[in-house]
Subunit: 474 residues, 2 copies
């Protein structure tokens, strides 16, 4: 938080006493003025800030009313101790552990005309008109659906259908007891971290990676060990060395149309990774939200397909491209992990809402949806090409992804990224700075641009805007 | 896990080698036979267990195949080290923290004809036929609802409507930035615990209390301090003493039609509790899921109404009686806590599904729903009376609740509760044993019976069944 330090700003202010109030409170919070310490007299502070004494008095009175300061024997104002309950959360050690800078969610909260930060599907690409049909069907089939809890693990009918689907698509050998429905993949990652990772456990994360995963595993107190991801996968010797050295509890990975890079780990590496995981007792947590969004050929089978020893935990999200408003994902894993995940889930919520599960069941497995997926792939491939074309006027570098929602772009190092982001937000445009995708918080000259959320026209206009802004730095 | 120790059981077994397998694995897991230790020879173990040598050999081979043991230089079988990945979760220290006994969710998983353990509304008491009307309305109004994320904090329109509602009903002074939508109250409690409680913080919990709250705060490593709840509230002198002595971070409470007792903390205590909270910097986390289910007069206003210092965090759930299948609850609190709760929520999931929020918005604030609430109260009051009448043949003791879903009943101490529960489950009947609602895990002679989930006929039949079973112990 940057606060006003000099007179001119005070002088311009319309609500002068509020600024003085902030000035004083900030010093109390920072500990510059400590508990029971006497505040500067009204006269002294007024002079110091070049404001009217009445303004200072008014500020002190408000501070008193809000119990930040107290008055002693008419001798002056003193700092109230234990302001815990009335001070900003950034100063509470427990609260502040949650209020860090640069959460991806904070960028998402910015309202902007061009939201390149949002790796979500444009709602206009969904067959919205047909959705209500399916919803009515759900109400006909399950008239009491809104009155019924699904249970912690999720609706048995949906789990059965997903097991069948996984078995046909990916040769998973899976019973419905080994599958749990979660409220999106974010919850799945959160549950896995809670159940498996204790403080100081080593955890391997791709570099770069899905930004909230860094937050989740950090919150668990994990020692995060980065694994570089390249266009053709990982350096497996490095992975083995890291497993040997750090004995990581797990490797959280997104090997298919990886977020943010779009890279896909090839089939032969997948097999070997499962062997390494088994050998070094390192679980592989395979996050797989973009599998169906391929532009050329289908991606290799999930690592889970290669796993016979129960060392892969598979997270599959459907929300991103089927129906973000439903929030349906699932975790597949072996019973000894499922038991703990279920216990953790039962403390997190009372199970995914049944309505959403039933709608998803009838919608996802319908012929129409499967047809629609083909159209979706085409639409997204076109959007990707439009973005790439718009970017071709620059010297920025990226590897064209064969699936997913994002371009991962290297900008000239001369561009100060924080400044460009701030400037962009001013011009109603957002993107994801590479540093928040990097467990080491570097990658300063990289950005993630999503082409999934805006239409062709918006993509062209937005990229043109961004390119113009970046040219300010030459 | 209790395992077979003696010959007769082995002798009766149909799959003898599997039993030998279990026997060996159990010893490895327990650490009786340690890593790289040599297993007993086939001959010795066969003799010890009085089984055929081939049976032991077959077991050892299966253990080898599953990598629990290995063979060295043909000299025998040895325990494979680091069996972590293939052993039961009850033996993994991190996993096992989640897999404790007696979770309420475990009792809920029991399929039974008479589910007195379930404090949920009977779906038949909901106006299911009218639900689909509202759902269609939602799709007409928001055709892209399934394709849209609501954001972490929840739909702005719903938050606005809830602020209005709370302001009219309870004189809350609240802006929509101070309100967050959660997936049920379970998630709300979980988020509050995550954000506010660090290991060894003291936390006050009512005794008895909502069982999963004990689990959530225990998981955070809190020191749990029980506060007895009585028919007319708490002993406020005790509360003050506990706040003084233990400096608790928060007091999690359910002061209105308290679960499991049904007690309501009177208005004058509420005011005083807020004063105490402010004085001792102890947050009050007010969980309020049953407020609308009153049988006589409306309950006193929430503690949040009395709070001017921002020391009450208010959790209001609507799921239980509006639509369990929607899973809608909310948290109201001041901005410094909201900021941290939002960060935690963004790591837990991507926001409550928008569809559910929109359905709830149009359904809850409709005239029909408000009319329906009146009918619901009558129906539940009747069910309560039916249960009480059916119980009147016993010498069991309870205080008739004036709202909520539960009877909290004291049974004669001669009844062994674990045995009665096991016996009941055998007879397809479940209830909640008092001990799991007690932070001290005592209250052995108390049980919670919910009258909300079954109709009058089922209530009569079920109670008759339970009473008969309890008579076995005289």
């Amino acid at each position: 938080m940057k606060r006003i330090e000099a007179e001119p700003i005070f002088a311009q202010s319309e609500k002068l006493f509020e600024r003085v109030y902030d000035y004083v409170l900030e010093r109390i919070k920072r500990g510059e003025w400590q508990e029971h310490e006497k505040l500067p007299s009204v006269r002294v502070l007024a002079k110091e800030l070049s404001v009217n004494r009445l303004t200072v008095l008014k500020s002190y009175q408000l501070l008193k009313q809000q119990q930040h300061v107290y008055v002693k024997d008419k001798s002056g104002y003193y700092v109230q101790p234990g302001g815990r309950m009335t001070i900003d959360s950034t100063h509470d050690p427990v609260l502040s552990a949650y209020v860090q800078k640069s959460h991806l969610s904070e960028i998402h909260q910015v309202q902007a005309a061009f939201q390149f930060s949002i790796a979500l599907l444009d709602p206009n690409l969904l067959p919205n008109l047909y959705f209500s049909e399916y919803v009515k069907k759900v109400f006909d089939l399950y008239p009491k659906v809104l009155g019924t809890y699904s249970g912690t693990q999720g609706d048995a009918e949906l789990r059965e259908a997903l097991c069948d689907y996984f078995s046909k698509q990916h040769q998973f050998y899976l019973s419905r007891d080994e599958l749990m429905i979660t409220t999106g993949s974010q919850q799945a990652i959160d549950l896995v971290a809670k159940v498996l990772v204790k403080p100081r456990d080593a955890v391997l994360l791709e570099r770069p990676t899905y930004s909230p995963a860094i937050d989740v595993f950090s919150r668990q107190g994990a020692r995060i060990i980065p694994v570089e991801i390249h266009p053709c996968g990982y350096d497996l010797e490095q992975v083995e060395r890291l497993m040997q050295t750090h004995k990581p509890r797990l490797f959280y990975m997104n090997p298919t149309f990886h977020n943010p890079t779009g890279y896909t780990v090839p089939a032969e590496q997948r097999k070997r990774l499962v062997e390494l995981a088994e050998k070094y007792h390192c679980l592989l947590v395979e996050d797989d939200p973009y599998r169906d969004i391929y532009f050329e050929e289908e991606p290799p089978q999930p690592l889970f397909s290669y796993d016979t020893a129960g060392c892969v935990i598979y997270i599959r999200s459907f929300s991103k491209y089927i129906a973000p408003g439903l929030g349906i994902a699932c975790i597949a894993c072996r019973p000894y992990y499922m038991k703990a995940l279920l216990a953790a889930k039962s403390l997190s919520d009372s199970g995914a809402p049944l309505l959403n599960q039933k709608i998803f069941l009838h919608y996802f497995f319908s012929e129409r949806m499967q047809q629609h997926l083909g159209k979706l792939r085409t639409a997204l491939a076109i959007r990707k090409e439009v973005m790439e074309e718009a970017l071709s006027v620059t010297d920025w570098k990226w590897i064209s992804p064969t699936g997913g929602f994002n371009l991962w772009i290297s900008l000239p190092e001369t561009i100060p990224m924080d400044h460009l982001l701030a400037k962009s937000i001013e011009h109603s445009l957002t993107f994801v700075p590479g540093s928040i995708c990097d467990p080491l918080r570097e990658k300063q000259s990289w950005i993630r641009l999503s082409y999934s959320y805006m239409n062709e026209q918006q993509l062209r206009a937005g990229i043109s805007q961004l390119v113009n802004l970046s040219r300010l730095y030459f």
